[in-house]
Symmetry: C2
Subunit: 244 residues, 2 copies
């Protein structure tokens, strides 16, 4: 393949497993003629920069090609509440499809590369292409599923250990499903952000991290950490279920 912009679209490992690859790869889309490219452009966001801010008009969806980001809201009392973490392969912004206004801040916690997808072009094409209509619906349905799945993982968990273990094993499984080798990049969320998300004090997260490292469940190295034993983490989360 020649190094044209056409091939640049698939340069990330996650592209091979991206739900949106049908939008980038006309060839893979069967007999349906797919009008050129929906991909608006690639965007680089440096660590600490924002992919989008709450309240901004929403003209595009974003697919994360590499890096990771943190979604958050401002609480009435001026504090910040982390509402989620997003990694390679995640589609973000879909919840703003109806209101066309972003509902949270999304900040890069490490350098991020996103594919920006113009919503109006997506809709134009969907109007003429039944297959694309279905693709879109399934994408959203999958987003619903994923957002709920991660949640269910630690919903109702009462102990701090169960919540953290459940969340981390869920993230690891999700990334693995996307064909990202576990050893690839590692995770990089801060104790404070994780604590905000899971409803735990940052000190508690820190204590659990050292414990998980001692038990060989996680590996730490220079601000990053890797899930080493997702199976055992998952098991740990299950042992400490709510009583029901």
């Amino acid at each position: 393949m020649s190094p044209t912009s056409q091939t640049r679209d698939h340069e990330f490992p996650v592209c091979n497993h991206c739900d949106l690859r049908v939008l980038c790869r006309p060839a893979g889309h069967g007999a349906e003629p797919l009008p050129s490219r929906i991909l608006k452009h690639r965007q680089q966001v440096r660590r600490g920069g924002y992919v989008f801010r709450m309240g901004q008009p929403c003209h595009s969806l974003y697919a994360i090609c590499s890096g990771s980001a943190r979604a958050s809201l401002l609480t009435p009392d001026g504090g910040m509440q982390v509402t989620g973490f997003h990694f390679s392969g995640d589609l973000i912004g879909a919840e703003a499809l109806s209101t066309r206004e972003h509902r949270c801040d999304v900040m890069a916690i490490e350098p991020v590369e996103v594919c920006e997808i113009a919503i109006h072009r997506l809709e134009e094409i969907a109007e003429r292409t039944p297959a694309m209509q279905r693709t879109l619906l399934y994408l959203l349905s999958n987003e619903l599923t994923h957002s709920q799945e991660l949640l269910f993982a630690f919903l109702g968990k009462k102990s701090a250990m169960a919540r953290l273990a459940a969340y981390l094993s869920g993230v690891a499984r999700r990334l693995e499903q996307r064909g990202l080798p576990p050893g690839q990049t590692g995770l990089q969320m801060s104790r404070g952000d994780l604590g905000s998300y899971l409803g735990l004090a940052k000190e508690t997260v820190s204590r659990l991290f050292t414990r998980f490292e001692d038990d060989g469940l996680l590996r730490f190295e220079a601000r990053r950490f890797w899930v080493r034993d997702p199976a055992r983490l998952h098991e740990l989360a299950g042992q400490l279920e709510s009583d029901g």
Copy 2:
């Protein structure tokens, strides 16, 4: 209006605010010719009965016209985890659009009436009707938003009081937005189910309930309760934010 089956579709108060009313009311759908009715049929489910079970093939979406239901999963160790509550106006089953297999049990916690909507007919119509395509996408996008909103409400809340207050005020607001008068039906979830959902012991929920009643935030009467002061509940939830 004559009492034909055509008018029976709108007999519930929630119908006037239902996201799906465009599907039931051809007249309200503008110039677009809408093929008869997508509504498959109304279904009554008695208290304790299931709207659908996990693993069943999913051919339909369901809109709740009246009553309320509880969604739950079986945990690996045989326990039950409540994953949500659904009330009049909720659309359920959308997360199964892609896999066509239900992902949770949904049980009526009081007599429920649901509108069953055949997915394949919905898709047929969408293929021919751009306006319907958009409607569908927005519906799903809204579902994403709603499922996340309720969640964000108590996500990261550390104290039991904050979680419960946040969840209840969120439910109250949502029902009010649908034009359901607050005094209408009241809520009927058990302490145990709420506890499972929120990660609290049923005794803790019970204690908080009596406290909220003493403070005039809730009113109890024969297994049901009403949110009396959503504003103060919301405030209560906000005061006890995570530190951030």
